[in-house]
Symmetry: C2
Subunit: 582 residues, 2 copies
């Protein structure tokens, strides 16, 4: 199946949904022509270089041979071409060799990369996290020796957080960093689930590692961030001996087989402190928002890929008589139930895309807007939307990939068809970079309280503006205004209930965390589609997608309030014994 | 992970949800002690013999070697033990060597088999279809030579329907059956997706094959049903030469690797007509209801397996601080969001189980009730519930298997954990034996019209009786009555709209087919849980499950009406070009 990079849809979403135009002052070089040219070129690279090796990546995967990882067929060469073409440096600062373009444009290009080949896309995605960490917290040496190599893509980066006993719970990690008496540290410990922890696409790999120092306070307050490169590098950037970092094994995973997921063994590895001692978790969280948004875009991406595959199949496969045309045999596309499903898939993709790109535009404004007020408001918006972008979009990824299999019928269950790979690949996205349950807890535990509730109040004000615009628009859009308004009212009620319970009965609030994230995400998704349909140059499809979404998704939002406000009374009393476990 | 056969839950569901007691007159031998003993023994077999070989079945799978299929490790021996223990003959007629027990009890036992090892369970499941076909439509020779061997499990059966160009669309099939001049037929053609089409667990395999005869009318009216055994058998039951049936290949599938999915090549195979010429599709549909119900039970089963695995993990894995107890580290089970998810999984499983077992009890009554009126009413109920049992339960299977992965966090994505296998295995159930889209079309196209709408009216009357009982019950159940009533009212509105549209604008009705099946299924599922909670001996858990389901699922049902009644206006105009396909 060929992959068509959704260049037009991304350009539309940037301009008419995510308000990319607000970045004009801060990023004057990101004008319309540049955006179009960047998207077009990224689309060509994704569809012509990365998509063709996706299936081999799944079939053959990465291999551990004699202690080193051999990348899946074609991946190392593709990575080199990717770096040479400048795709690793798009949004990095020109101070470190980057192109200084907005993150929103980077997210748009990477969405196409992830859609073409998610296992591949993880490699540059992890490097971006390392770039962000070193740009914000690195020493002069880090910025002169390591950062330019990461920005140019000559080297790649990794994030080493998880240990067997410490997944969502970073406080439990035990990897030790002992001062070596020469200003450095010696790392000892085991990290698991390290994405692209080793490979043969570059000469060096920059590992960022969370670890404890001796006598550090217990819990998250005793954790610091360290840099340990695969090959040691002197201050002039010259590579020397190998470091004592070893790959202990590769995981056998459900999907993304082309992405080597490593057990990393630090056995006295030389390491350097990044940022301040005992501030490792805080430093790590400064990159976390960006990483979570990237994963949200992956959810959108895998949904786009699965949708395209299902759409193509529905146009080729003939089966049965169409209730519309009476023709026999008819394309699956000409059966009402199938076409409705395809439209709903497409609507959810556009909603998720809009959420992720809006979050990215907020991040760019928070970083680069001229006035403090705009930066502060944008920061609130970025923080509020990030858990929704991550969790809601990745849930859409899994759902749409599953519908994609379904539209294929029996062929969808056969691996050669390709739909099954998307279903397998998609399943990691609600898990990594903080499970979607963690995102929901973050949303009600931290984000609802931001600026005393101003973050969520601002969001709702903006949605109300769009509802007014829908009411004033052409007749075909006015019924949607009621749907979106009812959804927003439910979101407001749910928020008020949670804010009240948060303060005095946290378990009640936490019991409805996932339900709340879905309720708010469904509502924000409808807002995104409404903005698209209201755009002056919107094609008929934008209104059709909005109406299908309004009746299929928004109409169910008020009914979700009950799940948010159910509280914990019926679950607190349930024991394992009552569930049959003895 | 160990599998605990849900013997107590099944016994409870049979008695208090599915009204198994109504079978007392027709099946006097199926008394309480017998039911308990059968469930207990099946549970032991499933958990001790079948569950332990499930992972090897997935890892190694069935293999094609020198033209014959070698079963996955341990499967052939397990099958022999399964047959020797009498599990293939439970509900077959004593006329053919069966035990004559109710199908509802058979479904309950097979649910445990499917949960323990779905790839294995498919083998006896397909034999049941062949048994049903031959018992209803076979010649004396079929009944004396083949049927007893299928009932005893000495041989297995297959159903050969699908061809590359004919999946959901049987009218398109082209396999030819040419009279051989001696009263028999010669079969030529290729069938695909043939479950357990070949294996080494028995000496012979009985293939039932849909094919056309020369000069038959086109379309489904020209299709007949044939029997072609792997090894030819004379009238005394003596096996002779091999037949010209060959395995052309095995599919490489997303899941159920232990189940050989064969391309079958009939190359002049000797075959015998089953039933009447050109009545093949009608004969096939007499077994189809039973097969669809079996798949629904598979959906329940894989959800049960995935839920148990997630529950066990949530009790073993400690991570973070519980908002309830303040203890650190706490079990995942002690985090409110996780426990809510587990309860919702369990509630959906019990709802699906109730629907499947209720359908089976209706089938038993339709077959064996003493009076004609009961049989007729039960037949309507069986026909109406079958697409819901198949589609709703298998959607629950996929959803719960996905939640099961999610609860494991990163470990869920690692194949060794086992959760991923359930996610892969589950995905076939919404597809085979008629995709869930086909079930939805069957529901609105055929089932709503049954007895002029009496089938659905009767169902709603029964649900109303339970709503009245909820209103009269203890205070903790009365709020649920409003939720179930609102859901039922929405179901009634949706039904009325569809019945009106069906008659004059079928594409409008078809556009909402899947949405309607979900709406009605969610409602019927709530009814099942309500019956359980109202049972005199119900434990507290039954009320807890009902309330979680009522607020999380039933509360959203009224909002689903909009998706049912949206019509086709916004999709009929959408072209592939508007979706970016050129």
């Amino acid at each position: 199946m060929t992959f068509r990079a959704p260049v037009r849809d991304l350009a539309f979403a940037l301009r008419h949904v995510a308000d990319f135009g607000r970045l004009a002052d801060a990023y004057p070089e990101a004008d319309a022509d540049t955006v179009d040219a960047v998207l077009e070129a990224a689309g060509v690279f994704a569809s012509e270089v990365l998509a063709p090796i996706n299936r081999q990546g799944d079939l053959v995967g990465a291999k551990l041979e004699n202690g080193v990882v051999r990348s899946a067929p074609g991946f190392a060469d593709a990575y080199k071409a990717f770096a040479e073409a400048g795709w690793t440096s798009l949004a990095a600062s020109p101070d470190h060799g980057g192109q200084g373009l907005p993150k929103a444009l980077e997210i748009a290009t990477l969405e196409m990369v992830q859609a073409a080949n998610m296992a591949f896309g993880l490699c540059p995605m992890l490097s971006l996290g390392a770039i962000e960490a070193l740009a914000l917290h690195g020493t002069d040496r880090h910025k002169s020796v390591f950062l330019p190599k990461l920005v140019s893509g000559e080297w790649t980066g990794t994030m080493n957080l998880t240990e067997p006993q410490a997944g969502s719970d970073l406080a439990a990690l035990t990897t030790m960093a002992t001062p070596d008496g020469q200003g450095g540290y010696t790392l000892s410990g085991q990290k698991i689930f390290i994405t692209w922890g080793d490979h043969d696409a570059t000469d060096n790999i920059v590992h960022l590692v969370l670890a404890r120092t001796p006598d550090a306070p217990p819990g998250v307050k005793g954790i610091s961030l360290f840099l340990a490169s695969k090959v040691l590098v002197d201050d002039e950037g010259k590579m020397g001996a190998g470091n004592d970092v070893r790959v202990g094994g590769l995981e056998h995973k459900l999907g993304i087989h082309g992405s080597p997921t490593c057990v990393m063994l630090f056995e006295g590895a030389k390491a350097e402190l990044v940022g301040k001692l005992h501030q490792g978790v805080a430093h790590m969280f400064t990159m976390m928002n960006a990483a979570r948004l990237q994963v949200g875009a992956q959810g959108t991406a895998i949904a786009e890929r699965a949708y395209q595959q299902a759409l193509n199949f529905s146009l080729e496969r003939v089966q049965g008589r169409s209730a519309w045309t009476g023709a026999y045999p008819s394309r699956l596309f000409d059966h009402p139930d199938v076409r409705r499903t395809l439209l709903l898939m497409k609507a959810k993709i556009e909603a998720a895309r809009g959420i992720c790109l809006s979050t990215a535009v907020a991040a760019d404004l928070a970083h680069a807007a001229a006035d403090e007020e705009t930066r502060a408001a944008a920061k609130l918006r970025e923080e509020l939307l990030t858990p929704i972008a991550k969790a809601w979009s990745t849930d859409v990824g899994v759902e749409v990939a599953s519908l994609g299999v379904q539209i294929h019928g029996g062929m969808g269950f056969i691996e050669e068809t390709g739909a099954a790979q998307h279903y397998r690949d998609a399943r990691i996205t609600p898990i990594y970079e903080g499970t979607n349950g963690i995102q929901a807890i973050d949303l009600i535990g931290r984000k609802l309280g931001l600026a005393d509730g101003q973050a969520v109040a601002d969001l709702m004000d903006d949605i109300r503006d769009t509802i007014e615009a829908l009411k004033a628009a052409e007749a075909s859009l006015t019924p949607v205004a009621s749907r979106l308004e009812a959804a927003l009212n439910a979101a407001a009620s749910a928020t008020a209930w949670l804010v009240e319970r948060r303060a005095r009965a946290m378990p009640d609030a936490l019991s409805g965390a996932t339900a709340y994230l879905k309720l708010l995400g469904d509502t924000v998704g409808g807002w995104m589609l409404a903005k698209g349909a209201l755009a002056p140059e919107a094609e008929a499809l934008r209104g059709q997608l909005l109406r299908v979404y309004a009746e299929s998704v928004l109409a169910q939002v008020p009914g979700q309030l009950a799940a948010v406000t159910l509280g914990d009374a019926d679950i607190v009393a349930v024991t394992p014994e009552a569930l049959g476990v003895h």
